[in-house]
Symmetry: D2
Subunit: 98 residues, 4 copies
């Protein structure tokens, strides 16, 4: 694994429940990729290959518009380390199930 | 609760274990504030009052330098809604303990 | 100068011109601080003292709500280096007036 | 133009001049794409097509490693609006050449 990303999508809709509906669609898509993922309050993190992960980012943007938002702002963090990126579990394992 | 923030600190050090040591010090401080917090792979989220949370951000920057980093980059997301911000549990409750 | 920040405010409003109106109010406030600032397409950058800059961040969030947005998401980058932060002009001087 | 992005690369190197060298290589690459771009203190903004822009993000990550950084953190903002994104000049035109 050479990369991990964290993505937040902000679909341009006013109602909180509309935001929830669209964000849930994006998270369902992220789950369907089969990659290891962690849902956080402001972003969802995945790890894998840089190329694959950026295709996933592109798809997340499209899903928001297909789900009814006229536009979307996305905020993406990318950690890229060809010889092996710092994994999700290694970073946060000890903080889970507090 | 009128605000929630997510903060990532990147202390300017080379070794991953040095990064871990300093980030763990910041997380220990965040835990000591008594506010509800969630540690994620790229950021830790807290909720509370805007004024209090920004003081906490300031302290996080200082802790990194006191812990030995010559400088630090921090990335902060701030959600501010005076009549009550969308809470951590309401956003992510259903995604925990997958 | 021990810090520089870049802030983007996303007031929760639907119309682009409403977004423009509120963002312009924030930029007018930033200009009024007297600090050196640069307006970019997605964020405005200032440099100064960490304490002063985080108070400014707080005020930016409040201005958006006072200007009519029910809530606001803000994205803040903070560079903190007690013995002197990398300045705006040193970073981008050669790229201005291309 | 359906998208605009702002990218900050943080190559994992200690010296400021090494950071400058690598970031300048990335900016030279961004300039070579022929897209309209604006260099800011913490990020460079481009506008174009979502697909093309995310390929450019991928290339920026790779350039940092090819230029000698063992790893790189990148921070990307993506604005996506299929029927025409808010342009750089429309957002910031009046703030240039203050």
């Amino acid at each position: 694994m050479n990369a991990s990303i964290a993505i937040q999508v902000l679909p341009k809709v006013m109602e909180q429940e509309e935001t929830r509906r669209i964000v849930d669609e994006v998270i369902a898509y992220l789950a369907s990729t089969g990659l290891h993922y962690v849902v956080g309050p402001f972003e969802t993190t995945l790890e894998g290959d840089l190329e694959e992960l950026l295709d996933i980012v592109k798809q997340c943007c499209r899903i928001c518009v297909e789900a009814g938002a006229p536009s979307v702002m996305s905020y993406v963090k990318i950690s890229y380390k060809p010889d092996g990126v710092w994994t999700i579990d290694d970073k946060t394992g000890k903080y889970q199930n507090r």
